[in-house]
Symmetry: D2
């Protein structure tokens, strides 16, 4: 019963097979491998973006901080939400890579609204050279609360950003989960809605460790390469990154994995609600935040369930509600969901 994270499960056999296939003979390093040419072509095709620059790195934080630093200046602030991964979970990596830019939370919620964004942007207006300057907008899709921006919401946010001439970054650590949730095209969810750069996640959805950074403006490509190299994120044996990503994007593996994860989460959410749990946020992808009595959590943990409590802990009365995060990954069998539910 593993619901702790979508980075704790195994990878599908296709990924291992792809590594084995790539492991033949000699290959040029540093991204000049033939697999990478395939990755670039495939991503341009999927995103309907024939000019996009595409790069691979091994961690989601690397994708985010490199993308953000490419879109910003050190004297600017990045507009994001308070729960954003870049603000909460990257140990000041964005500040490090941008050379000291700030992050301004425009809302405490998981999703920002156009009004939130506009108000925050306006708030950085009046102090001239003294305050931080307006910088990129960063949107997490899926959000850190398991919700998904609709296309209309994305477009509205993109419009606000464009009104102020600010670029938009999408933290797509769970890009595929959002995509299948919306049932739209990658282009619709990104550049057609005003997104300039995407952290396109592979790791949480079945890869060993690979994320693409997609820059729709190829003029940013050159500086990205320098930023990646000096950040120590350029792989010499790059073919093993490329091979993962190519397999991930082949035969709909990425979409199938995401659908599997989302489906399990829907099943689990339904069961939790049926058992009386209160959902903190709508369940729109593969993460569930739900409040259960502390006594229930105790029982689940004792039975071997693995997941994180989000507020409160195990100390206290049995009756008090404690919120937990359940994450379903691609590999989770139905039987584990049922096993958890049967304990309720």
């Amino acid at each position: 019963m593993h619901f702790a994270s979508d980075n704790s499960g195994p990878v599908p056999q296709q990924i291992l097979d792809a590594l084995a296939r790539a492991n033949q003979g000699y290959a040029m390093g540093y991204g000049a491998d033939t697999e990478m040419a395939g990755v670039t072509a495939r991503i341009r095709e999927i995103f309907e973006a024939p000019e996009a620059a595409v790069y691979l790195v091994a961690t989601g934080t690397a994708a985010n901080v490199l993308a953000l630093s490419t879109l910003s200046q050190p004297w600017q602030t990045v507009f994001c939400t308070l729960p954003a991964h870049i603000l909460q979970d990257e140990c000041n990596g964005p500040e490090f890579y941008t050379g000291g830019a700030k992050l301004t939370p425009v809302t405490d919620a998981g999703k920002m609204t156009p009004d939130d964004l506009r108000t925050a942007i306006e708030g950085e207006e009046s102090r001239g050279v003294h305050g931080p300057q307006r910088g990129p907008v960063s949107l997490s899709q899926v959000t850190e609360q398991g919700t998904v921006y609709s296309l209309a919401e994305l477009e509205a946010l993109g419009t606000v950003a464009r009104d102020y001439g600010l670029p938009v970054h999408m933290d797509g650590a769970r890009f595929a989960n959002a995509l299948v949730s919306l049932d739209c095209t990658p282009a619709e969810m990104t550049w057609k809605a005003g997104v300039d750069a995407v952290s396109f996640g592979g790791t949480k959805n079945g890869c060993i460790g690979v994320e693409a950074v997609i820059l729709f403006d190829p003029a940013l490509a050159q500086q990205f390469e320098y930023r990646r190299k000096r950040g120590a994120h350029l792989f010499s044996k790059h073919r093993y990154l490329s091979a993962q990503m190519l397999a991930y994007l082949s035969d709909d593996l990425w979409l199938d994995n995401a659908r599997a994860a989302n489906t399990k989460a829907a099943l689990l959410a339904e069961g939790l609600c049926a058992a009386g749990a209160r959902l903190s946020h709508p369940v729109q992808a593969n993460m569930i935040f739900a409040a259960l009595p502390r006594g229930t959590h105790r029982r689940l943990f004792e039975a071997g369930a693995a997941y994180h409590l989000w507020d409160g802990g195990l100390e206290g009365s049995d009756e008090e509600l404690v919120t937990a995060r359940f994450v379903c990954d691609w590999s989770l069998p139905d039987s584990q969901v049922q096993a958890l539910l049967s304990l309720l």
Copy 2:
């Protein structure tokens, strides 16, 4: 005939097998995997350093820049050689990670002598707060010219560093190649000679992408963890790094690979000399720098040999000597060495 780099060959089956073995069930992320416990234990055993802190990252540059930043302050300078990888080939990564420290080349040669080092350290003495302050010494073992510091040389350099209270870093991207060349213990080549931190390479010697940073002073561990995370080098699915390193250190794979590479290089060097080439530096590991007439290079390239010219290019007279770098990796078959030599 692939002599371009030791990062262009395949990895041994043991590494792929280890990934497959690690790909079972659920595992805690971020280094809390059970394989990592094995890695730490094994490295402590190999290095006879029961207290050492051990961390994994995926690139050699990451290992170097994280180790150096842990040993230095932004107002210091790192003493290294002019050809050092950290100076030439990391696109200002050390300056980035250290927050702006300098690199001072103490010699144009591949190896620094104790006199070189002492003179350079003394040279940073007289300007008080105005000049950069003295910082760590960084030694590449194998050096970027394919030579190997003897234990006596390392100890003499360690003594100079200790005289000034400066820590010593070893860039061991080709650590195993040096070790089998010296036929000594890892402890002798590191902490017994005064080395405080090691970038212990796996990638160039048969891994997909994994390097260990070994800190003999465990008091440095905590800050290293923060530096690795904010540098975006902490892997969520860390078990796949651990598995590689564990396989690498099992059944003498690391030593066998290094011996194979060094042996091929010795064979190739002998053949090159027999054919009239002039070696630029003693061949002590798996790299050869040799001068051949330009016409010979043209002939070899046309026949499909892959390696880098180091000075001069293909334009010019046939007779002029042009230096090339030949690198032998673990996987290179004897037949390829013979094929190259037969062309001479």
Copy 3:
């Protein structure tokens, strides 16, 4: 009628005279001037801190960012208030100098409470290496809203910081204004209450441009010197900084100036209230935030009054209340206060 800022008035003759006195013959540069020895001795005496390290810089932002970087690590966050100068008005200078540390606002108010602080510190606890780590607490005394922490408040905040082992910085851009407001000793307002480092302002209270950084732990002195130099804040002709500070601290000039400014502010606040203005915050030093009908602001501006509107602008109905900031500097004559009040 100049109430825009306490950096827009002239300096007292004593400061100019001190520059003229210092302008005799030759003097060692970079802080080795004899005046600086006097400054250090005087500040140690005033603060009852015979071991304190004392440095001069020319801007308040320099004092803040150098002090904060000395107390923090790049992976930490600085706990401050939302209106804090370091957060709002230093254009990411703290992020730059600290190498990428964050600033966490613990409250939207001008003053933080011990509860605010404790809650914020606890909030940075649960994410291990992923979140920013806990760093220094920075308190503005006078606050950016013109209020002054009482000694009891300072001590309570210092106790919270000490509970977590966190150092405390005081942004004392208006240190003297706070001191005379509290009628306490500098020691009571700083190290006795748990403050580790002070930005001790001179510029806003009558100097041309000089601030002292006082480090009560002399072990921090060495690194501060390197930080100041590489930040380009070490003056070659340092005697002219020293001379200002020495004159400022002589014959109670600093205290007299602060009392004059505070007295004018009290007078103005009383008059504003009598005229129906609503104070946003208690007036405890030399700054007033007060709401007046927009029509009144229009009238005052037309009559030549200089001050800043804090929220809202001149567009809109006459009746709506708009908040303004009035700052009184040492040099402000009573007649200007009366002139403003007579317009109401």
Copy 4:
């Protein structure tokens, strides 16, 4: 007998008078003072550059590091000489402000030649994304060895830079001394020769502490303002910087001071040579590097002469030659030169 530095003498009365004049009534802060408008107009006139952006800071290092960071990217290297102030005497300030750029010395000499520069630029060509990228060229005029680039030399260096599309920075800490030495116009010595940004020194030539940064491309102005602010180099009471610079540029004070200093240096050099000293470099401005027997230095120091030994110290045989640096500032009376010479 003060020859230690041109930052250890007093300032002329005109500078103090200007401060007193500026000390009237209220003035807008942060560069919006009326004096600054005069400074900008005057510098544009002097440099025949009606569009140039002009900013003031208080230290020469601030001028250099802010100018260099405006012209470079963190992944580039700055081409300079080995004795350059930015390399030797700014405690890694350039690395800090540029976000980690490197400095590449193109020669050990005080002056670089076009060949030196071209060779160094070519040397940063072959390693693609791995090496540092080519960045700005920084020229010190006067050089750190007391020599002055001729207009022809500057133009030739500017041509090399332009061939590679690299911007040129001039460290003009002793700009006026060079200008009167060449007897040319400021335009000829800067933008007409290909210089893009100038650190225009005031401090070493009679000001208390003020330097202008002149950017001939006004498109760089906006980012410079942000860099200056976040570097904590924007003065609130800016009028006192402006007043110094305006007085400095009035009534030929800057030129008169420089001529006085250069004249004394010529006199001293002549006398030193007559007494048997060997000049290390041609004396073209206000600095002299000369070798004298150690015994002579001992005698001079005992008699109260103040200057720096450049290599070697006071320990050793009387006969051995030891090189010293003598700097003449604007205020040095002839009598002091004579006093020194009379001791020889």
